[in-house]
Point group: C2
Chain length 353, copies 2
């Protein structure tokens, strides 16, 4: 298992070529590759081009994703919208939903969009960043396959159900909060298993409902909500603002993410707020800057070098990886190249040249 480092531009071209061979229209392919590269650049590797591009390729080939689908507006009120994702490419559905939420916000000061029939969209904060580019606050919730047990229970009744808030700052990169409402994730537990490590207290139960530090038992069992009853509550709120608001799969009904032969069917909720409709945009970003400064100048606790503001480490990683390249495992690439069939050699040669 070797770690290659590939320039983002090269990886981007590679992604576009792969999607073009799957008959994904160019504009949609760009959105997908940019969404996945956002994860790869910012060090959110679980939501990067690997593993998400190979997953998407399999789902397009299997006919589970419709690569040409645009979203369809089902219902519209002054500041809200209900949208059918039409089983389109996850990032395209999310991007178009966020575009609608931004339009509503521009007209009314605030916009809320509920979208169903969706696929995996990568990192939730990618879409909030789109709102931030226009000076707005972008909020994204998404439900997911039920792997998380309620507080006190031992059954998966909701997903890792992420919440993402992206906030424009003045002098600093955006403040980005992008978190699962579970204590951990299947991805992190799988990594621990690969590395032969134990997992911390509070992450998971085994299948009989006892706390476990064994990643294998955890994967056969259930994820725990973050912060006990608090994450349990917030996880349910995400399902309520996504699946329930859209009358789509909700809680236990959300299909398994890992079954690439049937449509996924997650739902999103996107919300955009204009600080200009409250006290004003300039004073808002000044306030956010001051808050950020209070964070980064906060004296650190014992054993910690310094305090970071939310999104700062990811922004630093993005700057770094943009220069030095994105780490990719050769095993990930190898498996992917094999899956490309006839196109394998040409793409492989170009990427690794």
């Amino acid at each position: 298992m070797t770690r290659l480092t590939i320039a983002p531009g090269k990886l981007r071209e590679f992604g576009l070529k792969v999607l073009s061979q799957l008959d994904v229209p160019r504009d949609k392919a760009q959105i997908c590759v940019d969404a996945f590269l956002f994860g790869s650049l910012r060090g959110i590797d679980s939501h990067g081009l690997f593993p998400l591009l190979p997953r998407m390729a399999r789902e397009i080939r299997g006919g589970v994703i419709d690569p040409k689908a645009d979203v369809r507006i089902v219902k519209r009120q002054a500041s809200t919208m209900l949208i059918d994702g039409c089983r389109g490419l996850g990032p395209v559905t999310a991007f178009q939903s966020m575009e609608e939420a931004i339009k509503l916000c521009r007209q009314k000061g605030m916009g809320g969009v509920s979208t169903y029939n969706c696929n995996h969209f990568g990192a939730a904060s990618f879409y909030g960043c789109k709102a931030v580019k226009e000076g707005l606050i972008g909020i994204t919730f998404c439900n997911a396959t039920p792997r998380v047990t309620p507080y006190g229970g031992r059954q998966g009744i909701h997903g890792t159900n992420p919440m993402s808030f992206v906030v424009p700052a003045g002098k600093y990169p955006p403040l980005v909060v992008d978190i699962a409402t579970s204590a951990s994730s299947v991805g992190k537990i799988s990594q621990a298993l690969k590395k032969g490590e134990r997992i911390p207290d509070g992450w998971a139960l085994d299948e009989t409902g006892n706390p476990t530090n064994d990643p294998k038992e955890a994967l056969q069992g259930f994820l725990l909500p973050m912060a006990d009853h608090k994450g349990y509550g917030l996880g349910l709120i995400v399902d309520i603002l996504t699946g329930a608001l859209a009358d789509s799969y909700c809680g236990k009904e959300v299909p398994p993410l890992d079954d690439l032969t049937t449509p996924y069917g997650a739902s999103f909720f996107m919300m955009v707020l204009d600080p200009g409709c409250f006290a004003g945009r300039d004073i808002f970003t000044e306030k956010v800057d001051r808050l950020i400064e209070d964070c980064i100048t906060c004296p650190p606790m014992s054993g910690v070098e310094r305090v970071y503001f939310p999104g700062e480490m990811e922004a630093m990683e993005e700057t770094k990886r943009a220069k030095t390249g994105i780490p990719v495992l050769d095993t990930d690439l190898g498996t992917f190249f094999q899956s490309l069939g006839d196109h394998k050699l040409e793409i492989e040669k170009e990427l690794l040249a």
Copy 2:
């Protein structure tokens, strides 16, 4: 220290009489007493009539709260509003802000209200419950005195910053998530100190920035965010959607809650969503009912009797206390009666009759 049990109706009359003697208009007094009784009835005693009514009485007498103030609308867009709380009674400011958010939501499908110059409003979910009575989802955020250190730091830079979501169900009481974004609260740590108990890991640091299980050291030190970097992020988001959006006190700037001689100056953010503008109200409450059923029928983990849905225990406590009465410590009452001066005897006689 004896525990008395007083009927809610009697406690309500008592509260109204106290506020009337402080020249609080009757309609405003009713909102305050109902907001505080909501906490007392639902077992959220830290946000009940004691200690909040005595606190309010002191602040009215000190001229810090203006008991006659109504909110003042500063700025209005289609679905948003900026409001000056004018140092009014906390529950009155919050109630009137929620009323405006509900009106915006009725017109536009969604409403967002940012309010500054506010005082302590009791339990955040009281206001969301008002939206739920009209079939709407009510969301409330509030910032607070900086007692919580950022993840990795040792300085209070934001408050316990609660988030509350209240959601209408069909057959069940509302689903209520009402949580501080910190791991614990000053109230809970003070209780541990009183009882001579240690506090759990993850609640607090001492003043030098080391983790502590000693409640006394914790009170001299800093509260920790819930779930490490996740609660840190969400705590900041609450300050951003309250103080920053309103151009008011934000993060470290929020004045000390316990200094009853200067205005508090917290900010609220209220948001209301109409499920009828998405897939529809009936299907929404059906979905929420199903989610609630999945929670309460979830097999429990080892050592747990059964799983509750968020807000269920509080609703049960409310039903119980409405019948059997609200527990009050005689020491709390005694201190309060003393502070009433001339009116002491009459009120004391009535309440304890």
